[in-house]
């Protein structure tokens, strides 16, 4: 054993072939949730372009290149409709659904996609964000909540174990 240990390059090569490692994968999206008027809210969400493209392709869409904004606006909206769900109150999926609208066009860059969603609601609501959770087990969606011009009042993490957050 000790003789083997004294052959460092052999060991290095051994580990080189044995492990399937990744440098530092980061599957994450971030979003702000801002109350712009008494009953009006705006979500601005930033998602990695490559993650979103591969997730959309995994859902059965043909090869997706989100750089072609006009061609993919409707597909992206349909993709998000199934994954970003809002319900009134704190009853989770049993609450009354809240409809949102997606601003067109979405903002494209090779690194990230920015989408803006708008909705109106009275009182507290529950946000479910399943986007990319099924595609990457380590996916995390971070939210920062602000009521009007006040500072950030709430920060939340959405991951596969906790796909929702309540905003009072």
């Amino acid at each position: 054993m000790i003789r083997l240990l004294r052959r460092p390059f052999l060991l290095a090569l051994l580990f080189l072939g044995l492990l399937s490692a990744d440098r530092h994968p980061l599957h994450m999206s971030s979003a702000t949730l801002i109350q712009t008027q008494k009953h009006t809210w705006v979500i601005q969400k930033t998602i990695f372009t490559d993650d979103l493209e591969s997730a959309m392709e995994a859902q059965g869409y043909e090869t997706i290149r989100l750089s072609d904004v006009s061609q993919h606006q409707a597909k992206l909206e349909s993709f998000l409709e199934a994954r970003l769900l809002l319900f009134q109150g704190n009853k989770g999926l049993d609450g009354r659904p809240i409809a949102w609208t997606l601003d067109a066009p979405y903002q494209y860059s090779p690194e990230s996609i920015k989408v803006t969603l708008r909705f109106t609601t009275r009182g507290g609501f529950t946000l479910f964000d399943y986007s990319l959770l099924a595609d990457f087990p380590d996916q995390k969606n971070v939210y920062a909540v602000r009521h009007g011009s006040d500072g950030w009042s709430q920060h939340g993490l959405i991951d596969p174990d906790h796909p929702s957050m309540f905003i009072p």
Partner: protein, 186 residues
């Protein structure tokens, strides 16, 4: 503790203690590998230099927002790993008491700090930066780093009890880190 602080504390901690993310983890292992357990001064000096340097780099970035190319930063982090693990292998695991390892740790800490910042910047919603988030993430990173060092310390103490010499352990750790670091390049 506010939800923002606890959230970014958690994000920082698991940014280091993540079985899928090897870069920072391996660097700490390779850096500490050749230092004997009882030589507390070099441990403390190297760890302090690394911690101070990457915290300083993150603070500078928070003030200045110097644009960084994420790909280049990732390659630079990988290079720190090749050099640090390569050094252990080159020296055949022998600890060099006169080598100023803390200088290496400090310089490379700046590069790792830049990488922490570029990942942290992704985690912060646009326009949502606050020092509370920065503090939470930085403290989480330090906590994760301490957890890794403590685990390494315990593992090495156990192996030492089983008759492994510091040099043999350093060689195994250094070789492992070098092997994986080379693999990460492809």
């Amino acid at each position: 503790m506010s939800d923002a602080l606890s959230l970014y504390l958690e994000l920082g901690f698991y940014h280091i203690v993540d079985i899928h993310a090897w870069d920072h983890l391996l660097f700490i292992l390779a850096l500490m590998a050749p230092i004997p357990l009882k030589a507390w001064k070099p441990w403390l000096a190297a760890l302090s230099a690394f911690t101070l340097a990457h915290t300083a780099a993150m603070a500078i970035q928070a003030f200045s927002h110097i644009p960084l190319n994420k790909t280049w930063v990732e390659w630079a982090v990988l290079a720190t790993l090749w050099i640090t693990a390569g050094r252990v292998v080159w020296l055949k695991g022998v600890h060099q008491p006169k080598a100023k390892l803390w200088i290496l740790a400090g310089v490379f800490g700046l590069i790792h700090g830049a990488a922490f910042w570029s990942d942290f910047a992704i985690m912060v919603p646009e326009g949502g930066f606050t020092w509370e988030l920065w503090l939470g993430f930085t403290a989480g990173v330090e906590g994760g780093q301490l957890a890794v060092v403590a685990s390494l310390f315990v593992l090495r103490a156990i192996l030492e009890q089983l008759g492994w010499s510091t040099r043999d352990m350093a060689l195994v750790l250094g070789s492992m880190c070098l092997g994986i670091a080379l693999h990460l390049a492809f």
